[in-house]
């Protein structure tokens, strides 16, 4: 499968929300997975001129017991700023680094977003996220 790197000028910032694609399962008859929003924690250059981002994946459906240890975007204004249409939980235990190419990231609607970046987490959300990360560390859980 060919993939095209996005220009370095399109690289997201930490706390940007990006639209992330998933590879299709190659099992015949099994449908591929859908795209997810993801929260950027790190931007890196892994080879000269080659970039990747470390992200935590979002879900609109999380078990009640997991919510306290993950980052929830539920405030309407925060959702809109993040480019999200509904309450979203970023699973801080499901974090991966992905190459910044069109294989992994895309704009959900090029007419609205010219890059895969669909929004940002604001200062209030970031402060809340820091508290959640501290809670995770205290509980011995992994952090991004």
């Amino acid at each position: 499968m060919t993939e095209t790197a996005y220009p370095a000028s399109t690289l997201p910032e930490p706390m940007d929300v990006v639209w992330c694609r998933f590879p299709y399962d190659e099992t015949p008859g099994k449908p591929g997975d859908i795209a997810h929003p993801a929260l950027v924690f790190e931007v890196m250059e892994y080879r000269e001129g080659k970039y990747a981002v470390r992200v935590a994946f979002g879900t609109s459906n999380m078990d009640r017991g997991d919510k306290a240890m993950n980052f929830q975007v539920s405030n309407f204004a925060a959702q809109r700023a993040a480019g999200l249409a509904k309450e979203t939980f970023f699973d801080l235990g499901r974090v991966k680094t992905l190459v910044w190419t069109d294989r992994w990231f895309e704009s959900p609607d090029p007419k609205r977003w010219s890059t895969p970046v669909i929004g940002q987490i604001g200062a209030d959300g970031q402060e809340y996220l820091r508290a959640v990360l501290e809670r995770r560390k205290g509980a011995g859980l992994t952090v991004p």
């Binding site: 930490p14 590879p23 997975d33 924690f41 931007v43 892994y46 879900t59 699973d91 929004g119 996220l129």
Partner: protein, 58 residues
């Protein structure tokens, strides 16, 4: 005088484009272990072990 009933003129509340893009409607379930395994197959994480971090959330 015109006695015919005229329907009221309907004026949209928002005539312009929204200031911020409308959020993208989608439903996205939990990210499963199988999905993470597929990522590892197609984007091995070892290739990033010596990467230079340009920006990080702290």
């Amino acid at each position: 005088m015109n006695d015919q009933f005229r329907a009221p003129k309907v004026v949209p509340i928002n005539r312009g484009k929204p200031l911020t893009p409308e959020p993208f409607e989608a439903d996205y379930g939990p990210v499963t272990d199988d999905m993470l395994k597929l990522i590892d197959e197609h984007c091995p994480q070892e290739q990033f072990k010596d990467a230079k971090v340009l920006k990080r959330f702290i």
